[in-house]
Amino acid sequence: MNNFSYIQAEKPKDATAAKRDDKSAAFIAGGTTLLDLMKSNVENHDQLIDVNLLPFRGIEMTKDGLRIGALERMSDVGAHPLVAQQFPAVAESLLLAASAQLRNMASIGGNVLQRTRCGYFRDTAFPCNKREPGTGCPALEGDNRNLAILGTSETCIATSYPGDLSVALTALDAVLTLENSKGKQRQVPITKFYLLPGTTPQRETVLESDELIVAVTIPQTAAARKSKYLKVRDRSSYAYALVSAAVGLEVQGGTVRAARVALGGVGTQPWRCFEAEKALVGKPATEATFRAAAELALRGAKPREHNAYKIEMAKNTLVRALSEVAV
């Protein structure tokens, strides 16, 4: 970890302007991802801008849905009754993530900006196109057991966002509110927030360098109320998903009226499955329907030596999750 200066921003503009003026600076909220990356010299910042005093807090219902301040902690949001009752997939994705200690520190905004757990990215001994563009991707022929099978490119197969929350947010059409150094806010649907690696895997989101995530808004829907997050992992806690599914269903008289489906652990970004959703709507809420949708969700998957298992695991996870919310 390099030496760095530290400032505590008291107003949003103090933070965003400082970031605009110093390209090597980083915002710090909980720091649970950032400090790890700095300790392993994957990220080097000469300045950290502490945003914890900024007024981006609160969990409240608005006309657009549930608005969660970006500085709320994972544990608080996961335990909030509104979240648990109206958006169970979101609550579950938060409480199944990380460890209690990390959840108490980590912010919602920071969670959305987690970086990949790809071992090649996180160890500077290796080449990595995401960390150092143009150096190559050893994961293609190496340790790719935990990496993506959808949305990959020849330059990068990392599950760029490795966490849980954004998978649920992606399924439920959450919208991020971003604010820049001019104080201007814009709304970005989370489905448009992450970028595919293509030839530029170092570019992971549409966030501009002077922008800060200030809130997440999740529309209230029947499908969100009947939603679930299912996570498959190597151990029972404190492990990233091998595969996860966030689903929501609105079922009337045994027929699916609305469906929300996203997968984690399989895509280079949280993977929204629009085709699978289309295949669900209007169909009977049966395992056969869910199986057909799961087949569509994994269509086009490109496995590597160690991650072919994800295709079947993801299908089964999806079928299981849909079956459980359908009852």
């Binding site: 390099n2 071992g119 001994a125 029972s236 298992y309």
Partner: protein, 781 residues
């Protein structure tokens, strides 16, 4: 001490009072309050900090090291590379093999032989400055293509002739195994793969090197064996041992990785001398994966021949494994197959391949853990193949003596372990047909496996100082891994002197104390207990002499040989009422204290001393088997329930019962914890522990505790541990068998056997992760 004295020979186990009780850890308060200082927490005035920079390539040479930016960091004292680090008097290759597991010492030239190899050592006023400077050093390399493991197409398997630093043969044959296998009515053959495992103790390896003069050195080291570290340093530095002190008061787990001498220690010592300041260096967590050894990647092929009713007639075992460019280390997996069952024909052959990895090393139950995975999985298959209950097939092959050497057992309670374990677990309710038991969506399975671990012969010295005021200090240069040496030796001392444990202070972890074995191979408890007993006997002899010469003593004028001592009281053997306590006699003498010392033996050495060279065992009427003493082993049985999600591939252990026969239990609480820990360690190896070495870079991709999974609480069910009563007069005076390794042996097989019972699928590649389970579920059962 006088070896012919009245109390030195012991034909039966000594009586106990405090020994065996579930005493709370005597070091518990110091640990929970932070008063206990681990090696890297010790502060000496003037201490500066060392940080290693590790190689980013696995093979090649250094072409340049640019330290210009690093040297500008404030607080930098010196930056050492192969160009300016003072050379040791000898290299590890030139010293006694068993001490330095790895014969190669980095930073002696520009060669790179493994990824993570130290290439520079920065010394700075603060840890932060040293860390940052290490990152700023720019090393350029001429890289070559490395070999990553025995299964690399470029790797060449060879016959090492000897393994384990030359101590064991790479070929062992008993009987005529191939012929017996070929002619067997029932045959079974399978190949088992074990992942690379890393010890991953909580406390990292650490060294604080303090030169107290040009030729006087104190090293605070995270060491499982201070004597070993002292000896290795003396050899490497060309100094007398007497001038080197090694101190390890507390250890935060080791599992074997702190039981050998590794490069960081000598590099720190050399740097400390060069900067003329105490230097403290702790490995980072990633460096723990390339600094202190590992359990090697390996595969075993096991062929078993049996009669139609399940009696083994042949075991043919081969093992392939990766070793380093210089050393021929591999775990001796065959040992357990040679002795666990009654089988007249056995062979094992080891083949190794050199790769660009550091030398692997013993890791908890080395050999027995992976060996038992193969053996006990194949036994389960054989039972299933022949429609015999898995416990029944083990009973049919029960070894009434040790077939590997023909000796009778000193004690063996494996049958009792099976019976009691089965009863606690409810084994009789198990459905023998695989894939039949469901709990909701989950498939439920039950499996069992045997455990065993040898009593390794060992010896050590202790000192006892009994004060007339009723306190005592007992000292031995042993170590406490965190498993309870402080506590159990306090109990042993209390009974030897007849004092309550709170009046005893037991000191360990310092080469200034009498020489004792390290914590490894499950020898510490048995050996140090014997040493304390020998030292206590020295005190007894002296006090008995005082008493028989003291008119005020009830033992006045008695012959010392007629006096017996038990639990701190001296009395006439023929008239036990006539006697007094050691303290009473000492008190009248006017001496403030009395000191005794003694050397105690454990295992074969103890037996030879007390029972004669050829094991004059009155119970052994089998003349043919009288080949010099007894075979000494602890035994146990594991019972495991798993739930397998057939769609998602996840395996969860939901119930565990372990019953063990391990001689006298010194402390029921710490022993139960240790056996519980063994089961957890084994569940880790069974289900999740796996270090991935990249095939092209020969460099690990998950070298931290987020990427290298060890069990969390949620992975571990309630674990029920019991010990069956067992007395063993041949191993040491208390009948103590070590339990450090036993609890882990057979665990992975018990899990795999339960998975088979749940699903009808046999997973032979560890760890049994969800991807492998799911793949197996796709195949027909």
């Amino acid at each position: 001490m006088d070896m012919t004295s009245n109390t030195s020979n012991q034909k039966e186990n000594a009586p106990t009072n405090v020994v065996g009780k579930p005493l709370d850890r005597v070091d518990g308060p110091a640990k929970v309050t932070g008063a206990a200082r681990y090696s890297a927490e010790i502060n000496v005035p003037g201490t500066v900090y060392g940080v290693l920079k590790s190689s980013t390539i696995a093979k090649g040479r250094i072409t340049g090291i640019d330290t210009s930016r690093a040297a500008k960091e404030p607080g930098i004292i010196n930056i050492f590379t192969h160009e300016n680090l003072p050379k040791p008097a000898k290299t590890p290759k030139q010293i006694e093999k068993w001490r330095a597991a790895q014969s190669y010492l980095p930073m002696q030239d520009n060669q790179i032989q493994y990824a993570g190899q130290p290439v520079a050592l920065v010394v700075a006023a603060t840890l932060e400055a040293a860390t940052q400077a290490a990152a700023l050093i720019k090393v350029t390399y001429q890289a070559e293509t490395p070999i990553d493991s025995y299964h690399d197409p470029k790797a060449e398997l060879f016959d090492p002739q000897k393994i384990q630093q030359g101590k064991k043969d790479a070929h062992v044959v008993r009987g005529n195994p191939q012929q017996a296998y070929d002619g067997a009515a029932v045959k079974h053959e399978a190949t088992y793969v074990h992942a690379i495992n890393h010890h991953s103790p909580m406390e990292p390896a650490a060294t604080l090197a303090v030169w107290e003069g040009a030729d006087k050195l104190t090293v605070y080291e995270a060491s499982q064996n201070v004597t070993m570290h002292q000896g290795a340093l003396a050899d490497l530095l060309g100094m007398p041992r007497e001038q080197i002190r090694v101190v390890t008061k507390y250890i935060g787990g080791g599992f074997g990785c702190k039981g050998s001498f590794w490069p960081h220690t000598i590099l720190t010592v050399l740097a400390a001398k060069a900067v003329n300041r105490p230097v403290k260096l702790a490995l980072t967590r990633p460096q723990m994966f390339t600094g202190v050894g590992h359990r090697e990647d390996q595969e075993q092929t096991l062929k078993m021949g049996a009669t139609a009713d399940g009696k083994l007639v042949s075991i043919v075992h081969t093992k392939k494994a990766t070793t380093s460019p210089w050393d021929n280390y591999t775990e001796s997996n065959g040992k357990v197959m040679d002795m666990l069952y009654a089988c007249e024909n056995y062979s094992t052959v080891y083949e190794l391949a050199r790769a660009n990895v550091m030398t692997s090393v013993w890791m908890r139950a080395p050999g027995e853990a992976p060996g038992s995975f193969a053996l006990e999985s194949s036994m389960d298959d054989l039972a299933n193949q022949l429609n015999i209950d898995p416990m029944e097939i083990r009973l049919r092959n029960y070894a009434d003596y040790d077939h590997s050497n023909g000796k009778p057992w000193s004690s063996k309670s494996l049958k009792q372990c099976y019976t009691r374990g089965a009863e606690l677990f409810g084994w009789s309710k198990r459905n023998p047909k695989p894939g039949q038991t469901r709990r909701g969506r989950m498939l439920v399975g039950h499996g069992m496996a045997s455990a065993t671990y040898p009593v390794h012969s060992s010896q050590g010295t202790a000192r006892v100082r009994l004060f007339a005021d009723g306190h005592a200090v007992v000292e031995a240069g042993a170590t406490d891994l965190g498993t309870g040496t402080y506590t159990v030796m306090t109990q042993v001392s209390a009974d030897a002197l007849g004092l309550p444990p709170e009046k005893i202070r037991f000191e360990l972890g310092d080469t200034r104390l009498p020489t004792a074995p390290g914590s490894g191979g499950s020898v510490a408890a048995g050996t140090v207990a014997s040493s304390i007993m020998a030292a206590a006997q020295d005190v007894w002899d002296k006090v008995v002499k005082m008493a028989v010469a003291d008119k005020k003593s009830p033992l006045y004028k008695a012959k010392p040989t007629d006096v017996k001592v038990e639990l701190g009281r001296m009395f006439l053997s023929k008239d036990p009422k006539k006697g007094e306590t050691l303290l009473a006699a000492l008190g009248r003498s006017g001496q403030p204290d009395i000191e005794g010392s003694g050397t105690g033996k454990y295992g074969a050495g103890y037996e030879e001393k007390n029972f004669g060279q050829n094991g004059a065992d009155p119970n052994n009427d089998n003349k043919e088997k009288k080949t010099g003493g007894h075979s000494m082993h602890s035994f146990g049985a594991h019972f495991c329930e798993v739930e397998v999600d057939p769609d998602l591939g996840t395996i969860r252990v939901t119930r565990w019962v372990g019953v063990h026969g391990a001689g006298t239990v010194l402390n029921l609480k710490t022993a139960t914890s240790q056996m519980t820990g063994g089961a957890i360690y084994g569940i880790g190896a069974a289900l999740m522990e796996d270090t991935f070495r990249d095939p092209n870079f020969a460099h690990y991709t998950n070298a931290d505790l987020a990427g290298y999974h060890i069990p969390v609480n949620a992975d571990i069910p309630n674990i029920q541990v019991e010990f069956v009563p067992e007395s063993d007069p041949y191993i040491n005076y208390l009948g103590v068998k070590g339990i450090g390794e036993l609890g882990m042996v057979g665990v992975a097989a018990a899990v795999g056997n339960a998975v088979f019972n749940a699903t009808g699928r046999r997973l032979r590649s560890l760890p049994m992760t969800p991807d492998k389970m799911l793949e197996a579920m796709r195949m027909p059962a």
